[in-house]
Symmetry: C2
Subunit: 122 residues, 2 copies
Amino acid sequence: MPTTTAPEIYDPYRVCPSRQLLDRIGDRWTVLIIGVLEDGPQRFSQISRRIDGISQKMLTQTLRSLEADGLVTRTVFPEVPPHVEYELSELGRTLLEPLAILRAWAVDHMDEVAAARTAAAA
Amino acid sequence: MPTTTAPEIYDPYRVCPSRQLLDRIGDRWTVLIIGVLEDGPQRFSQISRRIDGISQKMLTQTLRSLEADGLVTRTVFPEVPPHVEYELSELGRTLLEPLAILRAWAVDHMDEVAAARTAAAA
DNA sequence: CAGGATCCTGGCGGATACTG
DNA sequence: CAGTATCCGCCAGGATCCTG
């Protein structure tokens, strides 16, 4: 292909890293888990109990992803019965403020969204 | 039920409005579309051409949702052939900054995430 | 207690064809 | 041009059972 310089094409998978971030935080559980871990290190079962409706599978899976992304650290205490703690990494904590800002937007504007929604339904 | 005061249970569907927001922006297309509309009003086919890989179905569906949420306005010009323009509403524009902050986080930190990921893969 | 392994289903989203 | 309608594959994610 010659340099047709097609200017502003946004491929969702090649577009900026933000797509990957949105994939991360867009799923149902990531942000909830980060929210729980904001209170400090937590054990698997603690997190599980504090997030209503999450399955072990999803908790495990999401924690593994968060760990792989370097956002959460996993510490195993060599005890029996097993004792594992999850904690926000330094990198993970840098994400707290952007999320707080997003949450603030939601709190500030979701009533307008709700109003628009019911108006649209009419 | 007596007041057992179960303290910190996060139900993803009843938890703060942020869950709804995350559902919105978590899908594949919403943020891309908002990004395109950031440049001003656009026609259906313009948006379509600027977002690689989106189907008419998803473009229509996402635009309808954005419209129902009051984030985007839809203007039909009574012409033939049809001419429809989509534009960010005032409410929609208030979302730009939070998204920009998120994008900034991604740009600043996604290389660390990528590094953590490849390290985890090893 | 922390999770691995399996099975199974809903619905997200793509492809295609048709219309005002 | 800007959609609607329909069919369908795929896999995220829940339920369940099992183990170190």
